[in-house]
């Protein structure tokens, strides 16, 4: 089998396993390149259907292009869209550095949605190659009371047997893209012709490599106006993907603290 087919097959397997074992699922849809691939893979797994709601945790600070994308493809793809609001930054842990504190609004918004809809499983499109603590994740990652990640004592996971049993009052994060890289995502997006937000492609010598909130995400210098050019650029670069995400770089442990508390 070819590499992208292998990746696709495992992701489909994970979707189907979660759908069979877990009641009350929802999928996070951040409108970024990864979560669009994730929606696409779900449709492949379920033969054109997405048999659970798709959830956008809206900080209210996304780019206009992202909102336009959401309206169009929620309709075209036949998605059941749930919108979650985030509390104002003043309500968030003030010991966090500023950008991380801003990002933590999303954690609070997600937790509220999990509670409101009594969700047992949430699909999140994180990848191991994005960030070093995500590199230590499981496909089926149990979360304790309050959504906390017990990262120092994760259960074993092997032979594609996942932890689908969990205590009442806790839930699972399910990561169908964990084994994909940024380049895999773009090559697959190209192969499958998956729509993407135009901000990823260069305009006036700049493009976004990773999309988050307007105020804490920065464009990179780039001439890559097409998907082919983006792939060529990434094949040559040594700059990490999330270099433009302020929250990752404020303190050594900023991201770990965010994730331990339930960030994606």
């Amino acid at each position: 089998m070819r590499h992208l087919d292998e990746l696709e097959s495992l992701s489909i397997y994970i979707f189907r396993e979660a759908f069979n074992r877990i009641d009350r699922l929802a999928m996070l849809w951040s409108l970024g390149k990864d979560s669009n691939v994730m929606v696409w893979l779900a449709r492949k797994a379920f033969f054109g259907h997405v048999p659970f709601p798709v959830m956008h945790i809206d900080t209210g600070r996304k780019f206009a292009e992202m909102y336009a994308f959401r309206e169009r493809y929620a309709r075209e793809w036949g998605l059941t869209l749930l919108l979650g609001e985030c509390p104002p930054v003043e309500e968030i842990d003030e010991t966090l550095p500023p950008a991380a504190r801003s990002a933590a609004r999303k954690t609070a918004g997600l937790k509220a949605m999990i509670e409101k809809h009594d969700l047992q499983g949430v699909f999140a499109g994180i990848r191991r190659d994005e960030q070093a603590t995500r590199a230590k994740e499981r496909y089926f990652s149990p979360r304790g009371q309050g959504g906390a990640w017990q990262f120092k004592d994760q259960p074993p996971e092997f032979w594609d047997q996942f932890n689908t049993d969990f205590a009442p009052g806790t839930h699972l994060r399910i990561h169908p893209l964990l084994h994909w890289t940024e380049l895999d995502i773009w090559r697959y997006t190209q192969r499958e012709r998956i729509p993407t937000v135009p901000l990823y492609f260069a305009k006036d010598g700049k493009r976004y490599r990773s999309l988050g909130d307007r105020d804490i995400t920065f464009a990179i210098v780039s001439e890559a106006r097409t998907i082919e050019a983006v792939i060529a650029e990434l094949e040559a670069t040594l700059t990490p993907e999330r270099a433009g995400r302020a929250m990752d770089h404020e303190a050594e442990d900023a991201f770990e603290r965010l994730r331990a508390d339930g960030y994606m």
Binding site: M1, G48, A135, K136, F151, P155, D165, H179, Q190, L238
Partner: protein
Amino acid sequence: MQPTERAVLRLVVVGHVDHGKSTLIGRLFHDLQLLPEGKLEAIRAMCERRGMPFEWAFLMDALQAERDQGITIDTAQTWLRAKDRDYVVIDAPGHREFLKNMVTGAASAEAALLLIDAQEGVRDQTRRHGYLLKLLGIEQVLVLVNKLDAIGYRHERVAAIEAEFRGYAASIGLPLAGFLPISAREGDNIASRSAQTLWYEGPTLVEALAKLRPMARAVDLPLRLPIQDVYKFDERRIFAGRIESGILRVGDTLVFSPSNKSARVASIEAWACDVPPVEGRAGQSVGLTFAEPIFVERGEVASHEAEPPVETDVFRARLFWLGRNPLRRGGRYKLKLNHQAVPVSVQAIERVIDTTDLSDQASEQVERNAVAEVVLRADSMLALDPHGRLTRTGRFVLVDGYDIAGGGIISMQGYADQRHLMVRRATNLTRVEHEVSLAARELRNGHRGGVLWLTGLSASGKSTLAVAVERRLFNLSYHAYVLDGDNIRGGLCADLGFSPEERAENIRRVGEVAALMSRAGTLVLTAFISPYRSDRDRARKAAGERFHEVYVKADLATCEARDPKGLYKRARAGQIRDFTGVSAPYEPPERPELTIDTGSLTIEQSVQRIVDHVQRHFAEGAAFAGG
């Protein structure tokens, strides 16, 4: 334009704690000039903040606790771009405490790098990791003797370590792809040849990596498609699953195990696919529709009719235990095997293996991080394969409480495939009703019909007691008849040998005959070793409530001392294979209706107890409930 796809190999780095795993990964990134921008400076800053010398391990050890304690807690993965292909590099913790995380990392790898510190040599975790690599099915292992700078690059030291570890690897059957002397810290023999090891003529690590082969998908092996789910989103009823081995095509007839239903593949469904596929291959997640309406649930395994999986409710396994609480004999767990999820009990712990010296011992439990050979009994029939035949349908995990607590690989040695015992080949059967009722027969006989099923080791006294009881019952005007092993094998079962499957068939026939005779009103006494619980349970099912199991109990030493036919002696000399109690298992009854301890009772006492039992349960007017 079609995207260019690069090949990817999944590589795990294992070994004893502090033998240099994380340093090696850092060094590889550095020498291949693949460190992300700013990473080197970031690591330097982290080290300065902690007042320690530069530490490559911080590249992978992302958790604060890992950096503060200088130890890898959980497995992590990173991507490495070499000239001809990419590598997923999986860092596995070396500390014994975190073996579950090592297994999590290593289980998905296609090849392993096993590091040995040249100063410390082969240590506990070196061996344990080697043993687990073998259990996990990793077929290519490169051994790296690291920290050569610390031993002055001495050849003799490396040669001694190599000899010691090669001996260990050979004794557990672990295939080694090479033995390289390196220094991860100094960069010797990593990307370029070292001037310090002129005595070494083999490849550098980068060259050796390029020679590792990707794992081949099992397309040439028998088809196995475990059913993951059945969907009815629209007018199609789609059976979904991943093909674990083999190839299937539209038009193929598939048989499902263990239900033994079959159906013909009408289509392979796919979304966003211009031409519908006509073939599915190992590794693909597919969806099928069938030409006939068929009711099959998650867990069943589809195969071709010619090469189906084994059906059994009992099997042997070699397992590693990662649970917080020990695995106990008699303990109940949830078995997950592909998509089958069934309660099992631990029938026997045959030996607990010490991975350091490969010695073994009997034990009532298996502690965390230990390896053992066990016999597991499931509450219902399973479809599986011996691991030696098909890897992916020959392994399982056990769940204790909420967590996966262990994994194992399956052996059917000494146990029968129960498939042919289950299948009823004829389908157009109509039962004929008798005009004489069982009650009428029993009224005329003056007693009830039934089966007294004597089970026990060879020389425990089954035949002796059966014929003596038959005589006594005859004198008491019972219609009693003995079915004995050697007599039956002369006729009804003359076509059967002594393999586990043939033994099972032998017992199946005896069970059916005994059941028929009991319905004719006869009290049947059977005298067969019948060592397997599954077989006796099947005989019980055939005869229903008239079946009474009589455990003729005598320990192995007693039976061996009696040995009237000289069979034990021959078995011990290796002249009889699969001899119960010596080289094949005996599974004692769990709740027999009667136990006769011939080790402590005389023959006359034993006969009397059985006759009393018959009078109590089978005489006219006796209470019928077994007990």
